[in-house]
């Protein structure tokens, strides 16, 4: 049997004096797109950090069936790539310089990039339509371009699993769609597993294979979007009035004004 790309077994995670994630278990199969949703403070970002090994853990995180704690930082970095919600972008670097940093886990500590690494980066830039910007300084890019550059850096890592924390933050509708469509295409072409947190439930319904709903650090629902994204559930956990419409077999979550007659 093929082991799942990522598996969490009763993971408890949090910060110094505060437990945020209390006993979450889940498996993500290779090539699957899992969207993690939930209201503010539900523990979405903490879940991401737990998968990345950035918070103290109870329970186990397995990557490719291997306990994360038995892997070195470099080994883990070759399995999981990460694009954060608010990346620190050194404005003075060129786009190519920045994306090349994604090759770090593949380099010896003191080595410099080979032409093979530069080819990987050139290829990633081409696929993301960034080759025209290769020599531009990051400080001169627009918000949408920056988001793509961050994705490019994570892709240059050539990891099997891509973790995206709110990848569409700050993007307008068109750019958000374009970015997620791009991730979806890359996933189909390379078989990459995607774990992303998403605020926008419609986008989660449109792109994810499976949706995980967190509330108060606990998993309250998981399954295909059609099962998880119901008006009752959204009302209960988001305290929001919505309608869920199915368009072309995918879920669209529409806010409805409740005080209107």
């Amino acid at each position: 049997m093929v082991s799942p790309a990522v598996e969490l077994r009763t993971v408890r995670a949090g910060y110094r004096d505060r437990l945020v994630l209390d006993g979450v278990s889940l498996t993500v199969s290779a090539g699957e797109w899992l969207a993690v949703i939930g209201p503010n403070g539900a523990g979405k970002s903490t879940l991401v950090k737990a998968v990345l090994g950035l918070t103290r853990l109870g329970g186990e995180v397995l990557l490719d069936g291997r306990d994360r704690r038995t892997l070195s930082a470099r080994e883990a970095a070759r399995i999981i790539g990460y694009a954060p919600q608010q990346p620190a972008l050194p404005g003075g670097l060129t786009v190519t310089d920045y994306v090349l940093l994604g090759r770090t886990p593949h380099l010896g500590l003191l080595a410099r990039e080979s032409s093979a690494d530069e080819n990987v980066v050139a290829d990633v830039l081409r696929r993301l339509d960034l080759d025209q910007l290769a020599a531009r300084r990051i400080s001169t890019l627009s918000g949408g371009e920056r988001q793509r550059v961050v994705l490019a850096r994570a892709l240059a890592q050539q990891a099997e699993v891509l973790v995206l924390d709110e990848p569409t933050t700050g993007l307008d509708l068109g750019h958000a769609q374009a970015l997620l469509a791009l991730v979806d295409r890359l996933r189909r072409e390379d078989g990459t597993t995607v774990i992303s947190t998403l605020h926008d439930l419609t986008l989660a319904g449109q792109y994810a294979d499976r949706v995980l709903l967190l509330d108060g650090g606990e998993m309250v629902a998981a399954g295909p979007p059609a099962e998880v994204l119901t008006p009752e559930r959204v009302a209960r956990y988001y305290d929001a009035d919505v309608d869920v419409v199915t368009v072309g077999g995918r879920q669209v979550v529409v806010p409805v004004r409740s005080d209107a007659s």
Binding site: L54, A76, P87, A88, G91, G92, G102, P105, A135
Partner: protein
């Protein structure tokens, strides 16, 4: 000029930096208070290289080889140490204002030097070596104290460390000022040391500090690429397989040792650690793979020139810290105004 997609230290740039440094060193050796005549100095250097006859008298040769040359070498070593440490601190703290004295190195050295001047004047007169040793220990102690105070649960956040450095600096400076006020007659000597200056001690100082500075330079040169990774923040650096805490400790230790070594023989020379790395960042590129090596070369050249001005511009000597700021600041402002959009 079209920007290259990959920022690399190109051979042309590196050779250019080395040529500038060698030229600066040569000019500095040719000029001095004692009129040796530049043609005769050149002839002497040529004679040493080829084993020919020296045109200089024994006394003149001593002035050249025991005073001028070691002073130029010392200025170069101190400049290289301060500029490359400054670059490393800016990278580690992701802060353009970071300089090598940020974590208490200056205040620690100042306090230790003052205590020695006040309480052990006989010692300074006796060996001339107590002051540098005390300053070195004070600088290392100041940084170590900042580091220890900002450690919590085994890890150190850059912001906490920065603030701990400010607090430690303020405290040590207060102690230093207090001790100094109690012994007002020593103010001039303490103040003179603080403004910075390179003493003429033959090769002793150079030989004493060069191991620290060379070791630190190797560490910082090797870590140029990792400084770029660190600039992405801890979460991303970790997700790229780097352990940011360990890397920070390594970089800060190396930069602080170099700074302490520099401070111990030159007092507090401000500005070099900020102006040189930024000059490189603005004119050549923002990757630390370029900034670190060129800061080493540029810092050495800059301080050799500054020391040259300090010892020849006026009868008597100007404090070198005055020169670095007086000459450096306007020049830096011009570069900054032309290239500000490239910053960070």
């Amino acid at each position: 000029m079209k920007t290259q997609p990959v920022t690399r230290l190109r051979a042309r740039t590196l050779v250019g930096g080395i040529v500038v440094l060698l030229a600066t060193m040569l000019v500095a050796v040719l000029i001095g208070a004692a009129e040796l005549g530049w043609q005769r100095v050149l002839a002497e250097i040529w004679a040493q290289l080829t084993g020919g006859m020296s045109p200089l008298s024994e006394r003149e040769a001593a002035i050249l080889w025991q005073l001028r040359v070691p002073r130029v070498m010392l200025a170069g070593a101190v400049g290289a140490a301060l500029a490359s440490s400054g670059a490393a601190f800016q990278g580690v703290f992701r802060n353009p204002l970071a300089d090598p004295f940020l974590l208490g190195a200056a205040a620690g050295a100042g306090m230790a030097a003052t205590i020695v001047v006040v309480f052990a004047p006989a010692l300074t007169a006796w060996a001339g070596s107590t002051l540098p040793v005390a300053a070195f220990a004070g600088a290392v102690g100041g940084v170590a104290l900042s580091w220890l105070l900002s450690t919590s649960y085994g890890s150190v956040s850059p912001t906490t460390l920065l603030l701990a450095g400010v607090a430690v600096s303020a405290f040590l400076t207060a102690v230093q000022t207090f001790v100094q006020q109690l012994n007002a007659d020593t103010i001039r000597q303490v103040y003179g040391w603080m403004l910075g200056g390179l003493a003429i001690t033959g090769w002793t100082d150079f030989v004493r500090v060069i191991p620290y500075i060379a070791a630190a330079a190797v560490v910082l040169l090797v870590c140029g690429r990792l400084l770029d990774v660190l600039a992405l923040g801890d979460a991303e650096a970790s997700s790229l397989g780097i352990r940011p805490g360990r890397l920070r400790l390594l970089l800060i230790s190396a930069a602080s040792l170099a700074t302490a070594a520099a401070v111990s023989v030159s007092g507090l020379i401000g500005f070099v650690g900020i102006i040189v790395p930024h000059f490189i960042r603005l004119t050549v590129g923002a990757s630390y793979r370029v900034i670190v090596p060129l800061s080493l070369l540029g810092g050495a050249s800059f301080l050799i020139v500054a020391d040259q001005i300090a010892r020849t511009a006026m009868p008597g000597e100007l404090p070198i810290g005055v020169v670095t700021a007086f000459a450096g600041a306007p020049f830096f402002i011009i570069v900054l105004r032309r290239n500000a959009e490239k910053l960070w």
